[in-house]
Each structure stands twice: as structure tokens, then as C-alpha cells.
């Protein structure tokens, strides 16, 4: 009897002093505690919502939305119309607008950032001074202030709603309602031109591989540039002409007479960039470019100078040394922090609501949320959208990073 209890106690003691077992025990307890905590929060939320008699669930997505949204890529793509479209359409309108400004912002910020970053390293004093001033101004002023500055500055600078500045000899123009440009109209047969171009790109890639293989075999690289030009421009151009020029331009229409409110640029002709979009895009690109410039500068400086000297010793020209030796190594340092900047830009685009660009936060978390009032569901949908966008960006950048990574043997 006594022996039994002693043995039991010794088993418990053994287990308690066994570090593996103890580790598992505490991890299980922590997990249980966490689960308990979260289920308590969820239970509380649900019971509070019930007490307030608030609606829940996602039924609202099929309700019709009765408000107008500013002309934007999302409105065009979703064919949004008040009283016809649903709240789910509103979500997609906002999502498309967010994605559009994020992609265009990333492109512009990257191009400008690389330019400024390289300029800062230039031996030309003026270039490097301009780049330094740019970086120090744009990264040190809060983005929201820059947003207001560009938006209201642009509004004050351009002509009134019923006047204009002509651009490109009257083909386009600008005033307070936006920047108007000719819109391309793709007619029957343009698909073949696009197909020829895609095939041309594929052909270029194949030819480049062939040329490299040839270079390795014979030591001589066959001429590439004329072939590229032929594939990318020549053949698509021939197809374009054979199809009878299946592309025309729709010009913006500017009315000078009629009722005063109907004068000015007409809403349904040509392509228009609204001041709200221009302001947001400018502010996001200029702000993020200042950070990218510093990343690029750091990346280039991270390549030891000996590499440049070694490539000179091998007889490579300046451009070739940059292209083959310096930039590939610099990119390895540049790409990971660049990814964070792309993510920042996407998330910063949510400031759009301040200047009336109809992004997801403005139309869905603003207008729609006030009509429906289901914060939890709607904010959750928005968080998921941003999360998915960020994860996709990371995924792409990680793939790119893996491609250019130093291959260790």
C-alpha cells in the first residue's frame, strides 16, 4: 500500500523533472490559456453585439448601394451605378482603385528612386546635391501633409472648371476637374497585334538564350539588337498595318457654350486622370522614392570598390562593369528592403480618404460602413484585402530575390 503511493509519487516526480515532458506540459498550458483568452474575447463580442441588437453576418453584401462614387478605374471596370450595384461591387470598386494606385505608385517610385539613388553617387556635384536635397525633403515631411500639399497645390495652380490649358496641340488638356488625354480605342483585329507582340517577347527570350549558348560555344555573340527590334516592333507593326490600323483615339471634348454647368470637359469622352488620383499618386511616389533612393545608394556602396577595379583589369567597359558586375551584386542588398517599401506604399495608399480618392477605405470603410454599420465584418474584409495584397507583393519579391541570390556552391 505504502509502496504503491511511493511509486506513484516517484512517477510524478520523474515526469516533473523530465525536461522534455515538462516542456510539453507548459506549452500545452500556454496554448490552452491563449485559446481560452481568444474564445473569451469572441464570446464577449458576440454577446455585446446581441445585447445591442446589432445585425451581424455578410448578408449586406447583396444589398444595393444607393450612392454615387467618383469616376475612377474601379467604377469603370465594375460598371458601378448607384441603385443597381451591390455593396459587394462597392468593395471591388474600392479594391481596384487601391490596387491601381498601389501598382502605378510602385512603378513610379521605383524608377524615380533608382534615378535619385544613382544621382546621389554621381561625381557631378550638382547632381548629387539635387539628389541629397530631394531625399532630405521628401522623407522628412509627413506623408499626409505632402498629400494635402500636392492636392491643393495642383487645384490652385490649374485653370477653373470651365477653362483649360491645352496640351499636345489641343489633343489633351488640364483644368480643376482633371487631366484629359486621348483614350485608345481598340478595334476588331487589335488582338492579333497584341498576340504578335507577345510572341515577339517570347521570341526575344528564346533568341537571347540561343545567342548566349552560341557565345559560350564560339566565343562570339551573334548580333542581337536588330533581331530584338524586328521581333518587338517590326512584326507587330506589319500585323498592325495588315489588319488596317485597328486602333483609333477618342479625343476629350471641351464645350465652350451651352448651359454654364455643362461647359468644360465632358465626362464621357477621352481618358481622364482626376486631381484626387494625381495628388495621391504623386505624393505616394515622391515620398516612397526618397526611401528607395537611399536603399539603392546603400546597395551600390555595399559592393566593394575592388570589384570595379577588378572588372577594369579584366578589360570590361564602364557600362558592362555596371551591368555585369556591380548591379547584380547591389540588387542582392537592395531587394529585401525594397519589398518593405512596396508594402508601405500599398498600405499608405489608405490615406486616400483625406483627399477624396475613392479607395477601399474611403468607399467601403467610409461611405458603406456608415450606411450598414457592421464594423467588425467590414473592417475584417478590408484587413483581409490588405493582407492578401501584401502577401502577394512579398511572394513576388521573394521569388525575384531567390532568382538573383548568390548561388553558393
Amino acid at each position: 500500500m505504502q509502496e504503491d503511493t511511493v511509486r506513484q509519487q516517484s512517477i510524478i516526480n520523474k515526469l516533473l523533472y523530465n525536461s522534455t515532458w515538462r516542456g510539453w506540459l507548459f506549452q500545452a498550458l500556454v496554448l490552452l490559456g491563449l485559446l481560452g483568452f481568444f474564445s473569451w474575447i469572441i464570446y464577449n463580442t458576440v454577446s455585446n453585439l446581441q445585447r445591442l441588437d446589432k445585425k451581424s453576418g455578410f448578408d449586406f453584401l447583396s444589398q444595393r448601394a444607393g450612392f454615387e462614387i467618383l469616376d475612377s478605374p474601379g467604377v469603370r471596370l465594375m460598371d458601378y451605378a448607384p441603385g443597381v450595384s451591390t455593396y459587394l461591387d462597392v468593395f471591388w470598386v474600392g479594391a481596384i482603385n487601391t490596387i491601381t494606385v498601389a501598382i502605378l505608385g510602385i512603378i513610379a517610385a521605383t524608377l524615380l528612386g533608382f534615378l535619385i539613388g544613382v544621382m546621389r553617387l554621381s561625381r557631378n556635384r550638382i547632381f548629387s546635391a539635387v539628389a541629397t536635397v530631394y531625399v532630405e525633403i521628401f522623407r522628412n515631411i509627413p506623408l499626409l501633409l505632402q498629400l494635402f500639399f500636392w492636392y491643393f497645390f495642383a487645384l490652385r495652380a490649374v485653370p477653373e472648371l470651365r477653362e483649360r490649358w491645352s496640351l499636345f496641340g489641343g489633343l489633351g488638356g488640364i483644368n480643376k476637374s482633371g487631366l484629359y488625354l486621348p483614350a485608345p480605342v481598340f478595334e476588331q483585329g487589335f488582338g492579333y497585334v497584341a498576340l504578335a507582340f507577345v510572341l515577339g517577347v517570347a521570341g526575344c527570350w528564346l533568341y537571347a538564350r540561343f545567342a548566349t549558348a552560341r557565345q559560350f560555344a564560339t566565343g562570339r555573340r551573334p548580333p542581337t539588337l536588330p533581331v530584338y527590334l524586328l521581333l518587338l516592333i517590326g512584326i507587330p507593326l506589319v500585323v498592325f498595318l495588315v489588319q488596317g490600323s485597328p486602333l483609333s483615339w477618342e479625343l476629350p471634348v471641351f464645350k465652350e457654350d451651352g448651359p454654364i454647368l455643362r461647359r468644360g470637359y465632358q465626362a464621357d469622352a477621352g481618358m481622364v486622370l482626376k486631381p484626387e488620383f494625381i495628388g495621391l499618386w504623386l505624393a505616394l511616389s515622391l515620398y516612397t522614392a526618397s526611401f528607395i533612393a537611399e536603399i539603392v545608394r546603400a546597395g551600390i556602396l555595399a559592393v566593394p570598390h575592388g570589384q570595379t577595379e577588378a572588372s577594369q583589369a579584366l578589360g570590361l567597359s564602364g557600362g558592362m562593369a555596371q551591368r555585369l558586375i556591380i548591379i547584380p551584386q547591389a540588387l542582392r542588398v537592395i531587394v529585401p528592403p525594397l519589398t518593405s517599401q512596396f508594402l508601405n506604399l500599398t498600405k499608405n495608399s489608405s490615406l486616400a480618404v483625406a483627399i477624396a480618392y475613392p479607395d477601399i477605405v474611403s468607399v467601403f470603410a467610409g461611405t458603406a460602413l456608415n450606411q450598414i454599420g457592421q464594423e467588425i465584418e467590414m473592417i475584417f474584409m478590408m484587413m483581409m484585402l490588405y493582407l492578401i495584397l501584401s502577401l502577394l507583393t512579398s511572394l513576388f519579391m521573394n521569388w525575384f530575390n531567390a532568382r538573383i541570390r548568390l548561388v553558393e556552391r
Binding site: 445591442l52 454615387e68 480643376k176 454654364i260 477624396a356 474611403s362 467610409g366
Partner: protein, 338 residues
């Protein structure tokens, strides 16, 4: 040892969770002040003056509420909220009452878990245009570009109005009212629209207010009033009867100047209202019996509040109109205290 601590922590958490939530009035009395949600600056309704004191019709309602609870109209703190944030702030408990020129509509009353206590200002949506546009009626606005505040009823109203009259328009929706009027001032839009009282107030922020005119059309009903969370009937009653007390005081002719005199009046209705007989109306809603006396003494009656904040002698120059008492041709009407 560690494990015991964890268990203890969990037990504490579980106990707090099961404790009964206190009523809104108890919570307010315990913290010692009322938390009132107001606008981010709308002259006449809720606006900080040059010394940083909040003034306005919506602000005075909250002061009256504080006077009724604490006998002190200063025991109130104000939270400026954007149109977008206001309902979330109220339902999350960040504020006790929302008094922020908020339109009473069926969706808001029935689907947001909120209750409107009454209508402190009967308003309607109006429009402002530059005089240079030459428009005299909203029906001439086909093709107009319109600046609005997002997260309000105005977006829906204006869409409905233009669709009904078969007119085209462009809607530019900003988050904060300051940016709406700034964009209108910068010439982005032909039309500025919000509640008529708001149009009158925002016009004063323009560089040249006289270059702009308010169109005669009122395109919607906008009954503005304070809002409380649903589910606490006592707090709802307090909110509603403080508003009725303001109206009843005006109807009796009791003002902040003569309230002490009136307290000695022989009129049984007035004695009952001011808590000078042995009826206990204040206690019935969880307040002191001098609740109405404190409101009138410290804040004034509805007419006084109206006149000093938005009336004809203020920069807003808004006539009483439908907001006059029912005895004077308006529709402000309060049930009797008895």
C-alpha cells in the same frame, strides 16, 4: 509556482468576465464626468472658441446633461469625431452620448444598435454655389461637380435628388468637413452640400462668404439629435427628458435669469417641474429632484441655447422657423412633466 500564477491570472480574468456590466449612469457618476462626442468644428453646433472652450447647440445639450447629473455644467469632456467615426465611438463605449448634428434615420435607429433621444434641430439638406455660376435653383444644376463629406446621409440624398430630376453630376467625397470646404473654396466643385445649418456655418469659413449663396431648395428631411447606445433604458430616458426639460422650460417662460424667482412661483406645474414640491420626478430617472432647476440655471432653456448659438443675432443667422415651440408655430413639442 509559475503554473499557479497562470491559473490565478486565468481565474481573475474569468471572474471579471462574468461580472455584471454597470449601467451607463453609474459609470458616469463613478468617473465623475460625462464623455460627449461632438463634431470636429461646426460653428454654432459644436466648435471650440478662441480660448479652447467648446460652444454650440450640440455642446449645450451635453452641458445640460452634465448639469442634470452632477449639478455642474462643466463636468463634461468632449471628443471631436469625424462623421465616419461617430457611431463606432458610441457603440464601443468611448463616449456616453453622441451630440454631433446627426441625422435620425431608420437605418441608424434600427440597425446600428443605437437610439435617438429626440430632435434638437429640425434641418434639411441645402446647397451652396458661387454667385458667379448664375444658378438660382437646384434644378439648374445638371452637370454640376459636388463636394460632400463621406459617411453622411448627404451622399445618398444628393444621388437620389439628381437621379429623380434626371441630372448628371460628379460626387467628390472627403473624410473631413474641413477638406470639403477647402476643396470647394479651391474651385474643385460647383456645389457644396450638407445640412442647411452646416452650409450656413461652413460658408463663414470661405475667403469671401458674400461671393457664395445658399440655394432655396431643401432636398431632404434631416432631423438632428443626440444618440445613445441601445439597451440601457434608464440612460435613454435621462437623455430624452433632459431635452424635454429644455423645451418645457421655454414653454413655461423659465430662463437662466429668472429661474430662482420662478422657483417660488405658485404655479403647481412649474413647482413640480423645478422639484419644489414633494413629487420625485428626478429620482424616478436616477437623478436629483432639482435636475431641471440645474439645467435651466446653469445652461438655460432651449430658446436661450438656440439664440446664443445659431439664432438671427449670431453669424449663422438662422431663423427659428420649424424649430420654434409648437405654441409659436413651430414643431418643437415636449410631453408634460407630471
Amino acid at each position: 509556482m509559475k503554473f499557479k500564477k497562470v491559473l490565478l491570472g486565468l481565474a481573475v480574468v474569468a471572474c471579471t468576465a462574468s461580472a455584471q456590466a454597470a449601467t451607463t449612469l453609474e459609470t458616469i457618476k463613478e468617473k465623475g464626468y460625462l464623455q460627449c462626442g461632438v463634431s470636429q468644428g461646426l460653428p454654432g453646433f459644436s466648435n471650440p472658441d478662441d480660448k479652447g472652450n467648446w460652444t454650440g447647440l450640440d455642446v449645450d445639450y451635453c452641458r445640460a446633461l452634465a448639469a442634470a447629473i452632477f449639478g455642474d455644467a462643466e463636468k463634461v469632456r468632449f471628443t471631436p469625431l469625424s462623421a465616419k467615426e461617430r457611431f463606432t465611438a458610441l457603440s464601443s463605449g468611448e463616449i456616453d452620448v453622441l451630440s454631433r448634428n446627426t441625422t435620425w434615420s431608420m437605418t441608424r435607429d434600427t440597425q446600428l444598435g443605437l437610439n435617438f433621444v429626440g430632435v434638437t434641430y429640425y434641418d434639411g439638406q441645402g446647397m451652396m454655389v458661387p454667385k458667379s455660376l448664375g444658378a438660382t435653383s437646384a434644378k439648374e444644376l445638371d452637370g454640376a461637380k459636388i463636394c460632400v463629406n463621406t459617411g453622411t446621409t448627404t451622399e445618398l440624398n444628393i444621388t437620389d435628388y439628381f437621379k429623380t430630376h434626371n441630372m448628371g453630376f460628379e460626387l467628390v467625397a472627403f473624410e473631413k468637413s474641413d477638406e470639403v470646404i477647402a476643396a470647394y473654396g479651391a474651385g474643385r466643385c460647383d456645389v457644396y452640400t450638407t445640412d442647411r445649418s452646416g452650409v450656413a456655418a461652413e460658408r463663414l469659413k470661405l475667403a469671401n462668404p458674400d461671393d457664395h449663396m445658399v440655394l432655396p431648395e431643401i432636398i431632404s428631411k434631416e432631423p438632428l439629435g443626440p444618440v445613445v447606445r441601445q439597451g440601457d433604458d434608464q440612460w435613454f430616458n435621462i437623455g430624452r427628458w433632459v431635452y424635454y426639460a429644455l423645451l418645457n422650460a421655454e414653454e413655461f417662460g423659465i430662463t437662466s435669469a429668472n429661474v430662482d424667482e420662478m422657483a417660488n412661483s405658485e404655479n403647481p406645474e412649474i413647482k413640480r417641474f423645478l422639484g419644489k414640491d414633494d413629487s420625485k420626478f428626478g429620482e424616478g430617472i436616477g437623478l436629483g429632484n432639482d435636475w431641471a432647476y440645474n439645467i435651466v440655471k446653469l445652461v438655460g432653456n432651449y430658446g436661450e441655447i438656440y439664440d446664443r448659438n445659431v439664432g438671427p443675432d449670431t453669424p449663422l443667422k438662422l431663423e427659428r422657423g420649424v424649430n420654434a415651440l409648437w405654441t409659436e408655430g413651430g414643431i418643437q413639442y415636449a410631453p408634460p412633466v407630471r
